[in-house]
């Protein structure tokens, strides 16, 4: 962000990072911030001072990203932290997800909004079990693009052969998880020295691909499912009556998928009533057409009864409306899930009572396979369950739509978030090597 005359970043990319402890993730993220000049002088001074205190001759960039005091004291990171940097091409929102404690919770959280994930390995250690698990969770959550940063390449003498073995092993694993060619890129980097993070390395002439930042700036990713069928959870009904806006009644929400145009025929679910879109309002004026991701207000042709929690959808491609479905749950609570649990499900703008029937399978993260009929689902475990809701919900399969296929499981007693829910049989697919990422339309535009 050095100079003022640069153009506005025209695009926003949300990404997540994951890796095992000591692979150099903090250093890598610190390096990205440092080399994109996203670190300001006073912060940098503090890091320089702290580095000198630690007896280091060069600044320890990992100090740029270290967080809460308890973590600072223990020298570990335990929660997802968000970082921001920008180049003239893009603005970046980076979810930094710590790898060891509670990795499922953190990776699921970071991955839920990510369009791309950077996985780290130590070039001396190669692809570990942990790397495979992370990749599996990223695939399950439908993160469309993966980057493997083969870090500490300086410690293996910038050896191409070492890199190639790791890159191939990882690509094979990602392919088995359902990642098509072009959606996975491996890059040899040294976070410590700065090779191939922002600046191209002089030591890896054999590597002809982009640096990490070049890739982040150019990788084609759609932030929202534009080409999927139109979905619009109604968040709020806006009503007013003024001279300018007589008996105004508009349905406010953020387009979850697809596009909507004036005159489109829509259906309101779960009721099933049909009408057309009379206007797409924004405070800046009317739109003829609006795309996924935009917050708008829809005015409909007919007066029908619509309230918060309803879903407005394309009349020609409407979702299933059901009170019974199969789902994958990533369990995030210390209270284990037992069959028969009564919970709340938050889907779109609607929260309903629900009942978890049987637990069909659990993902065995050690073997990277599934176990049938587990007795319970514990913290950080992922399983397949049957869910029954008190009211029907308009749902899509998560593999088709990351927005309307997602839900939260909430504890009715204390309100805590118990699980991340994904509609459909994502887990089974993962086992068979055809995960969520495959279905999501735009998800996969093959990379350069």
């Amino acid at each position: 962000m050095g100079s003022a005359q640069r153009d506005l970043p025209n695009d926003l990319l949300r990404l997540a990072t994951a890796g095992s402890v000591d692979d150099g993730k903090s250093t890598l993220v610190g390096r990205l911030l440092y080399d994109t000049k996203s670190v300001l002088a006073d912060t940098l001074d503090a890091v320089h001072r702290a580095s000198v205190d630690k007896g280091l001759s060069t600044p320890d960039l990992s100090l740029l990203v270290d967080g809460l005091r308890s973590e600072r004291e223990q020298g570990i990171t335990i929660d997802v932290a968000y970082r921001y940097f920008a180049t003239p091409k893009r603005s970046f929102v980076l979810a930094d997800t710590p790898g060891h404690v509670q990795y499922t919770r953190n990776t699921v959280t970071g991955a839920s909004t990510a369009q791309l994930a950077v996985l780290l390995v130590d070039a001396r250690k190669g692809v570990l079990e942990q790397t495979r698990r992370h990749a599996a969770v990223l695939a399950l959550l439908g993160v469309p693009q993966l980057v493997l940063a083969v870090n500490k390449i300086d410690l293996v003498d910038y050896d191409e052969a070492v890199f190639e073995v790791i890159a191939k092993e990882f690509t094979d694993h990602a392919t088995a998880l359902g990642y098509p060619i072009g959606s996975v890129l491996s890059i040899p980097v040294s976070a410590l020295v700065g090779d191939n993070v922002v600046d191209r390395s002089a030591h890896t002439a054999w590597y002809t691909g982009p640096t990490l930042l070049e890739h982040l700036e150019t990788v084609p990713v759609e932030p929202d499912p534009h080409h999927a069928a139109f979905r619009f959870p109604v968040q709020y009904v806006i009503r007013t009556n003024t001279d300018e806006h007589r008996d105004y009644r508009g349905y406010a929400g953020q387009i979850a998928a697809g596009t909507v145009a004036k005159g489109d025929e829509i259906v309101v679910l779960p009721a099933g009533l049909r009408t057309t879109v009379a206007r797409i309002d924004t405070p800046d004026g009317e739109l003829d057409e609006a795309e996924a991701g935009r917050s708008v207000t829809l005015v409909l042709t007919d007066e029908i009864d619509i309230s918060r929690g309803d879903l407005i959808a394309s009349a020609t491609e409407s979702p299933a409306v059901t009170d019974e479905f199969s789902a994958t749950l990533a369990w995030l609570s210390e209270k284990a899930l037992k069959p028969g649990a009564r919970v709340l499900v938050k889907h779109g703008a609607r929260t309903v009572q629900a009942f978890v029937g049987e637990l069909t399978t659990r993902f065995d993260e050690q073997k990277l396979s599934t176990v049938d009929s587990p007795e319970e689902l514990k913290l950080n475990e992922i399983g397949q369950v049957g869910i029954r809701t008190a009211e029907p919900l308009p749902i899509d399969d998560y593999s088709v739509n990351r927005r309307t296929g997602a839900f939260l499981v909430i504890d009715p007693a204390d309100g805590s978030t118990l699980a991340a829910g994904l509609v459909g049989a994502g887990l089974r697919a993962l086992d068979a090597g055809e995960s969520c990422i495959g279905g999501g339309e735009t998800a996969f535009s093959p990379g350069p």
């Binding site: 962000m1 050095g2 100079s3 003022a4 506005l8 025209n10 926003l12 300001l40 002088a41 006073d42 912060t43 990203v65 967080g67 809460l68 929660d79 997802v80 932290a81 968000y82 970082r83 921001y84 893009r90 603005s91 929102v93 953190n106 699921v108 959280t109 909004t113 968040q235 709020y236 806006i238 009503r239 007013t240 003024t242 806006h245 105004y248 953020q254 309002d281 924004t282 405070p283 800046d284 004026g285 739109l287 057409e289 609006a290 795309e291 991701g293 935009r294 917050s295 207000t297 918060r308 995030l332 938050k346 703008a349 997602a406 939260l408 909430i410 309100g415 805590s416 978030t417 991340a420």
Partner: protein, 303 residues
């Protein structure tokens, strides 16, 4: 408005849509939300987004100002003008009232930012506010990088790391027990530069102190403070007439100005883009007290 709307959404459009989504979720799920409004740039942007979220209906929440009593006149004028323009209700929680009736004691250093916690919590409790919008951004300070968009506070306003919920997709869980409330930060993912570019794009009115002007100031702890009714300057602190501007609005006794010639929004954006100091580091004495100052105050319930 005559802006031509393109279908393509740039980074600011996306941040705007996200913030509007958050406002509408809170309106749909909470009984008594309130927007913290200081007249500062972040809370002014927050209010602008709230107005957009519910347009053409009025914003369905009141505003709350925690008033340290150490204000620059321009800011209070701006506050009142803005409240009137949007026809909103303003609740003022006054630090001075609490000092006057003995519920709070003036600190030896005269700084009142840390004293804001008690009036804030008192106002939240007595008005039964259950969602409190703040303009906090995660890029402001390291301790904020892990803050949630929906940040659960116990009955004492405290932030307990262990009880913070994972935030998945754009599904926010606002459940809370009676007496608890949720702090909501719609600008979480904005950077300082995003805020300024948005102010420019949307042509948002700000207090004049954000732009370069001449002012009588004196130097303390490396900051330029406005000479005024609050403890300053001391005898050994000479007053100078300088061209300065403020980067944040806060207790005038510990919020510093910077020397700057940036007199309009373009100049401010150029300055911020090239800036070598984070806004808090440059201008807030209370954040300099200790490395973990921000985190401590968050635990205390200030944010």
């Amino acid at each position: 408005m005559t802006q031509t709307l393109s279908k393509h959404q740039d980074a600011l459009d996306r941040l705007e849509s996200e913030a509007i989504h958050i406002f509408r979720e809170v309106a749909g799920e909470f009984d008594r939300p309130v927007i913290l409004f200081s007249g500062g740039k972040d809370s002014t942007v927050l209010l602008h987004l709230a107005v957009k979220a519910f347009w053409p209906a009025p914003v369905p929440f009141p505003l709350l100002h925690v008033d340290t009593g150490h204000n620059l006149d321009e800011v209070i004028e701006f506050r009142d003008r803005t409240v009137e323009r949007y026809g909103l209700r303003l609740v003022v929680a006054s630090v001075q009232d609490f000092i006057d009736d003995g519920r709070l004691e003036e600190r030896p250093d005269g700084t009142r930012n840390p004293l804001q916690t008690v009036p804030l919590l008192d106002s939240i409790t007595s008005n039964k506010f259950d969602a409190v919008f703040g303009g906090g951004r995660r890029d402001e300070e390291r301790a904020r990088a892990k803050e949630r968009i929906f940040s659960l506070r116990n009955a004492f306003g405290q932030w307990e790391p262990r009880r913070q919920r994972p935030e998945l997709w754009n599904l926010y869980n606002g459940r809370h027990r009676a007496g608890e409330h949720v702090r909501v930060f719609p600008l979480s993912n904005w950077t300082e530069l995003d805020v300024w570019r948005y102010i420019q794009r949307e042509n948002i009115d700000l207090p004049s102190i954000y732009f370069a002007h001449e002012r009588e100031v004196f130097q303390r702890d490396g900051m330029w403070l406005t000479a005024g009714p609050w403890f300053g300057p001391n005898a050994d602190e000479p007053v100078e007439q300088l061209t300065i501007r403020y980067r944040t609005v806060g207790d005038g006794s510990c919020t510093g100005a910077i020397r700057s010639d940036a007199a309009d929004i373009e100049a401010v954006i150029a300055e911020v883009s090239a800036s070598r100091l984070t806004e808090r580091g440059a201008t807030r004495a209370d954040d300099r007290l200790s490395e973990a100052a921000m985190e401590d105050r968050k635990r205390e319930g200030y944010f």
